[in-house]
């Protein structure tokens, strides 16, 4: 095959081929084309999205390592403590092999974090699938996907001893053909421990450490060649198998290595595009070159070609550059941990990545050309033709003449879409490490992190996404989910420090999809600016579609914040004894557009989500943090999907199963269903001691935020009055449904 034909077969375009030829000044060989095909793929180069990502605010006083600079962003948490965090997707691998796909997703994000010099201390996972209770093959497939993915995350996360402290699970037919598995990892380090992925210092040795290289991951999109396809398909696995045991040894060994003063020059994990990506990125960042000899790469299989070795995506491997003369120390540490460490090359000043096998050059490419000079495309964007139609909402056609609140709430309580996620997080070790102060199940997870000088900093984190909102209005939906994430942190008394995002969309060549993406990015960017929240990194996952169509546009955000001094953390559920129920923030519901209520109770996705009022959100969050410094606060929970009624119901699902009796506001033109199930943000529910009410009212008044006493807590019934309706539910009945709906759906 001619080089050009080969390039096209790898998915490069004619124009891209021309660019490669020009950059090299000659015809590329097959190995080089293989390298370009992965490095210039969307996954590594962001060629379709880079212009959009530039719209995010990325700077701020707390930012220590900016988005795009290194493997993960790093923010300052005060007292010399820094936090590295990032989110990563493993959607397609998980669709093929849910257990290994999800497990290797965890391993991948773990490496991104400890590459920065940080000790990984927490995972969170954002998962999206079809409906497990669906009939026939679809439901069966979804159930096995859910079980496999959760087991895979549990397998890897538990084994490496990093707790999985939170996440989300969304069940919606839109993800039936294409599940989403996004994993977030947080690590902690001192400012002076931050590591860079740059190859510097001519003559410094380049080490390969960790697991051996096999043909893993080669059958991916980038794989195609006449010579190679002649071999049997059987030994060309697209499925990468993770080894969490080696993953754990690898990060312990790396952390031990970093602790040696002046030893390490640069580190880079080998993720997508393995050796190719790690050599050209480190060389490009260091403004240097790298020469490696493939014969020295530890190999698991025999007879691997240079092409295979360069593009293998075997897991649990790193590239480490150390100062010349310190080789022995590195080898000693890795051998103590029972890991391979091979000196495969050295740093040069040529600006080129030169790859040899048995002394013969098999690839010679300018590092920058490979790592940074991928083409950037401006994709066409078009408002979806059917959007206006979908955004229409005529409640008179949907809602019954007489409200059926009693049944409505039971339907929601009984749906696996809203049920307790205990089935998931019980399978994750969420306590290992002795840092988890607020465990899964609440608005945000809280970890205590030891300060360099002793004492604790409390760090709150949350993952949020809402494909339904974003499908109906990608811009407002994206704004609202950033607001929701920040509100979740506020409920833990935390000030947000940074945001990482995972942009999950369909095929960007479809202008309607690209429009969703652009709107989403712009909405998120606007919200981030409003909250002074820098985007410190993220991931883009495109082409999420199946023959049945694209997924909902699904940006997922992970926000990390620091709990303010003086805050007392409180649960999200009512305690025992009698208290007062308060509603902070808006008294309007925001309406039923794009609501969970319409989807779960009336089987429809229609209308637009309530627009986020970012200024009033900010005031509310500030107020919430100061309220949490008061005494007498018993429980806090924000209003989100399912509206105020579902938020109240969730608050009754504590160990005490304590109920409440409340009188809820009804807007002048609202139907009672809107008032109770509308998902507009900007609202937080509180349970407080009687004695605390005055002080809170005072604070709220000062802050310019609404504060309304809506009733009392206690008893074993949830009783709600609104617009002349007066309905009660047995807490135990609701709670039983809530606890059982997901496990039952998975067993069906």
């Amino acid at each position: 095959m001619k080089p050009k034909e080969f390039a096209l077969s790898l998915g490069l375009t004619e124009e891209e081929y021309g660019r490669i030829e020009k950059g090299l000044g000659r015809e590329p060989n097959e190995n080089e084309l293989g390298m370009f095909s992965v490095m210039w793929s969307e996954h590594c180069s962001y060629k379709n999205t880079r212009r959009e990502l530039k719209k995010f605010p990325t700077t701020g006083p707390a930012v220590l390592v900016k988005a795009g600079e290194e493997n993960a962003g790093v923010v300052d948490a005060g007292d010399g403590l820094a936090l590295a965090f990032k989110i990563e997707s493993h959607n397609h691998p998980s669709a093929v092999e849910p257990f290994q796909g999800a497990a290797t997703g965890v391993g991948g994000i773990l490496r991104d974090i400890f590459t920065m010099g940080a000790r990984p201390v927490a995972f969170m996972d954002a998962l999206r699938f079809g409906r497990p209770e669906a009939k026939g093959e679809a439901g069966k497939r979804t159930r096995s996907l859910i079980k496999g993915v959760v087991e895979g995350i549990s397998h890897y996360g538990n084994c490496v001893g990093v707790p999985t402290v939170g996440g989300e699970l969304v069940l919606d037919p839109a993800y039936e053909g294409n599940p989403l598995v996004n994993v977030f990892c947080l690590g902690t380090l001192r400012h002076d421990q931050i590591r860079r992925g740059a190859a510097k210092g001519v003559g410094n040795p380049v080490f390969y450490v960790g697991a051996k290289t096999g043909r893993d991951g080669l059958a991916g999109a980038a794989f195609a060649s006449r010579d190679l396809t002649e071999e049997s398909k059987a030994d060309r696995p697209a499925v990468q198998v993770g080894d969490p045991f080696v993953g754990k040894l690898l990060f312990e060994a790396c952390l031990e290595l970093y602790a040696r003063p002046d030893l390490v020059v640069g580190v880079q994990d080998m993720g997508a595009a393995g050796l190719t990506c790690s050599t050209c990125e480190t060389a490009s960042r260091g403004g240097s070159g790298i020469e490696i000899e493939l014969d020295r790469v530890p190999q698991r299989e025999t007879g691997m070609t240079p092409y295979e070795t360069l593009l293998s995506e075997s897991q649990e491997r790193m590239l480490i550059i150390v100062h010349k003369g310190r080789e022995k120390e590195l080898k000693e540490i890795f051998s103590r941990w029972g890991l391979d460490a091979a000196e495969i090359g050295y740093v040069t000043d040529t600006g080129r990545v030169v790859v040899k096998q048995s002394g013969k050059v098999v690839a010679d490419v300018p590092a920058r050309l490979l790592a940074d000079d991928a083409p950037v495309y401006e994709r066409e964007a078009k408002v979806p033709a059917k959007l206006a139609e979908r955004q229409k909402l005529d409640l008179r056609k949907i809602l019954p003449a007489q409200p059926r609140l009693k049944e409505d709430l039971l339907k929601i309580a009984n749906s696996p879409a809203t049920g307790s996620r205990r089935w998931i997080w019980n399978q994750y070790d969420h306590m290992v490490g002795l840092r988890t102060v607020v465990r899964p199940g609440g608005d945000a997870a809280v970890l205590r992190i030891e300060k360099p000088g002793g004492g604790w900093v409390h760090v709150a984190m949350t993952l949020d996404g809402n494909g339904r909102w974003c499908a109906q209005d990608p811009r407002e939906g994206s704004k609202a989910l950033v607001a929701e994430a920040c509100r979740n942190l506020a409920c833990a008394g935390a000030v947000p420090l940074g945001l990482t995002d995972n942009l999950n969309y369909g095929n960007p060549h479809d202008p309607e999809i690209f429009w969703q993406l652009r709107e989403g990015v712009e909405g998120m960017a606007e919200a981030c600016r409003a909250f002074d929240l820098p985007v410190t990194g993220g991931n883009v996952s495109l082409y999420n579609q199946s023959p049945a169509g694209p997924i909902h546009p699904t940006p997922v955000v992970g926000v990390v914040g620091k709990v303010e001094e003086g805050v007392k953390l409180v649960p999200g559920v009512f305690g025992s004894g009698l208290g007062v129920a308060l509603l902070l923030g808006k008294s309007e519901s925001g309406g039923l557009g794009a609501s969970l209520y319409l989807q779960e109770v009336h089987g429809q996705i229609a209308g637009k989500p309530a627009p986020a009022d970012l200024e009033s959100e900010k005031r509310l969050h500030r107020l919430m943090r100061s309220v949490l410094k008061e005494s007498g606060i018993r429980a806090v929970h924000d209003v989100g999907e399912g509206g105020i009624l579902w938020a109240l119901a969730e608050m009754t699902f504590g160990p005490e199963s304590a109920g409440a009796e409340v009188d809820l506001p009804l807007g002048s033109k609202e139907r009672v269903e809107e008032a109770l199930f509308g998902e507009g943000g900007g609202r937080i529910l509180l349970e407080v001691d009687e004695a605390a009410v005055t002080a809170i009212e005072h604070l709220a008044k000062e802050a310019g935020v609404g504060c309304r006493t809506i009733g009392r807590t206690g008893g074993n019934v949830l009783r709600v009055k609104c617009g002349g309706e007066d309905v009660s539910w047995e807490v135990r009945e609701l709670r039983g449904m809530f606890e059982e709906s997901l496990p039952r759906a998975l067993e069906s």
Binding site: N158, K248, N426, Q427, V432
Partner: protein, 230 residues
């Protein structure tokens, strides 16, 4: 007495044990699995985690680590040895405790708070508690289902070697309260001599109020010979 906390490749509760012991005023020593010495004045903790990835069977490979010779010798000399979670599995594999830990009956890993009934306070490990007292301790394991031949189970009962059983919040030892299907709801046992303890729940995760409770303190203190010695 000082504790040696053994670190196998894949251990991941070793630092948690060290932290908990420090909270209790102890200064333990971390011992790498390739070392071969346990001092005669030391107690040993085999911590939780996934030694050698828990591949093959939990604890099966760790049992052959160089340090295990020394641990056996220490146990034979009557020194205290505590195996928590993966450590319990290793002790069974090594034959320092009878029986075996198998896959949870429900087939899932379970991380949650469990309730334990103290069965026999006449042991150094339970000397801080009363008979029938209910403790809240976290569990986090996929293979914690204790199995042994009927005669072994009988002997455990007869010799009061069962120290903890899973129970409900009211202290009732029921099938429902059993998180993993363990025979006789066994959560923790000691050897006949009384110096070796194996338990699936994590006392080190229950030594600080901020972590959700302090019911685990007595076990570690008792093991260290502090407080109400017998």
């Amino acid at each position: 007495m000082r504790f040696a906390v053994v670190q196998f490749p894949g251990s991941n509760c070793d630092q948690d044990c060290v932290h908990a012991l420090r909270v209790l005023g102890q200064e333990p020593r971390i011992v790498w699995h390739q070392e071969t010495t346990i001092h005669s004045d030391e107690g040993v903790i085999l911590p939780g985690g996934f030694s050698y990835g828990d591949y093959l069977r939990c604890g099966a490979i760790a049992r052959f680590s160089p340090i295990m010779q020394a641990v056996k010798a220490a146990a034979d000399r009557g020194q205290v040895v505590v195996g928590i979670c993966n450590g319990f599995q290793i002790l069974c594999e090594a034959g320092l405790l009878p029986g075996a830990l198998t896959r949870n009956e429900g087939l899932h890993f379970r991380c949650e708070t469990s309730y334990l009934r103290v069965e026999n306070p006449a042991s150094r490990f339970t000397s801080h508690y009363l008979t029938g007292q209910t403790l809240r301790l976290p569990i986090a394991h996929g293979e914690g289902c204790y199995r042994a031949e009927p005669d072994v189970l009988q002997a455990l009962e007869a010799n009061q070697q069962i120290l903890f059983r899973y129970c409900d919040a009211e202290g009732r030892v029921t099938r429902q309260a059993n998180p993993n299907g363990s025979s006789l709801n066994i959560a923790g046992i000691r050897n006949l001599r009384g110096n070796v303890l194996g338990m699936m729940p994590h006392p080190e995760r229950a030594c600080e109020a901020e972590m959700g409770g302090t019911d685990g303190r007595g076990i570690l203190l008792g093991a260290a010979g502090i407080g109400r010695p017998i």
